[in-house]
Symmetry: none
Subunit: 214 residues, 2 copies
């Protein structure tokens, strides 16, 4: 008889056979149980909200809504639920993106069963987990520029963003910095592209949240 409750898991993968394999492995454990399965990102967000599982095992590439965006939404809507990302890519960019979206772990699909279980349990405890094959690449990449999203920007871009956050228009900034309006526009576009923002309001909000002003 167990004293603590089992870890409740939601499986999100578009291949039924993969989900089935995971369920076999997980349900054989005393401390783990699968409470649901979904085949795309949209369903993952919805069901995660309804069931409030401890862990979502999330495939990165899924139809309708990819795993990265689904992770972002789950992290925002259900912060208690932790996401373990699953992918075949050991490329640092993939890892970086989904970790930034809020995933607690990143597991390669060709991992051994033991690693899979370790990853699930680690994420359930709130720890991080990275597949050995990617952890090196990730950590160096991380140290480079993922710690602070502001580090994604060049110094000139930060400077421009600061003016934007102070409520200035492109024209005013161009005058203040003795630049062409075109240049300021280009910087603004670069900033938005890098940070995935799409309006002046979002830019200002970002600047505030990251301590660029106030």
């Amino acid at each position: 008889m167990q004293t603590t409750k089992k870890t409740r898991i939601l499986l999100a993968d578009d291949h039924a056979v993969v989900r089935h394999g995971f369920r076999m492995i997980l349900d054989a454990q005393d401390d783990l149980e699968v409470v649901g399965e979904v085949a795309n990102g949209r369903e993952a967000v919805q069901v995660a909200t309804e069931l409030g599982p401890d862990v979502v095992v999330m495939d990165v590439t899924m139809p309708e809504l990819n795993g990265i965006e689904a992770t972002r939404r789950i992290a925002a809507a259900s912060p208690r639920t932790r996401v373990l990302a699953l992918s075949m890519h050991k490329d640092a960019v993939y890892v970086r993106e989904i970790l930034r979206a809020g995933a607690r772990g990143y597991l390669l699909k060709d991992s051994a069963e033991g690693d899979f279980l370790s990853a699930v349990r680690a994420v359930a405890r709130g720890e991080g987990y990275l597949s050995p094959a990617v952890s090196d690449a990730v950590l160096t990449d991380y140290r480079k520029h993922v710690t602070n999203p502001l580090d994604l920007l060049t110094s000139r871009e930060r400077e421009v963003l600061q003016w934007i956050a102070e409520g200035k228009t492109n024209k005013e900034i161009a005058t203040a910095l003795s630049l062409s309006v075109y240049t300021v526009e280009a910087h603004r576009g670069k900033i938005m592209e890098k940070l995935n923002l799409h309006s002046t309001g979002e830019l200002v909000r970002f600047a505030v949240r990251n301590g660029l002003i106030d």
Copy 2:
């Protein structure tokens, strides 16, 4: 022979003849001395930082950077320096704005020489000074709604402002609140008019400063 140091004063007014008149009056006093003159708000901020005067006599209407914004920046950058605002308007709104920006005194331009000197000395001592003609209007206005600028807005306007500050566009807000885009635009315009703001960036900045988000 004087034991204490003279009060050091910076004159900021875009009319040279006005500055000259003030200098004549001030330099004739044993306890006061003019240490600099500037003709616009931008210079006022710069020179105030360099010289660190005790008092800045600041015209409200000046080119390049108006006296209100200049006062705001000086108050932020050089808190030891006190600002005495100078204006021809006895309208409560003007007074309110510049006092909120950090000015310690407000003097009407048609005041007598004696009042002028009283005001400068009062501000230098850290006291407040209001021209008799405006003090009544100001105080009642103050009690009404100046404590919190957000009180100038209606509840609907605050609601819209909050969405704007979260980076949403008019169209998104209209959808969220089941309104026409025209309506949201109207609210946005009203908010800008009431708060004297002129861009999305300034709106977001204001919302942040006044605790509407984050």
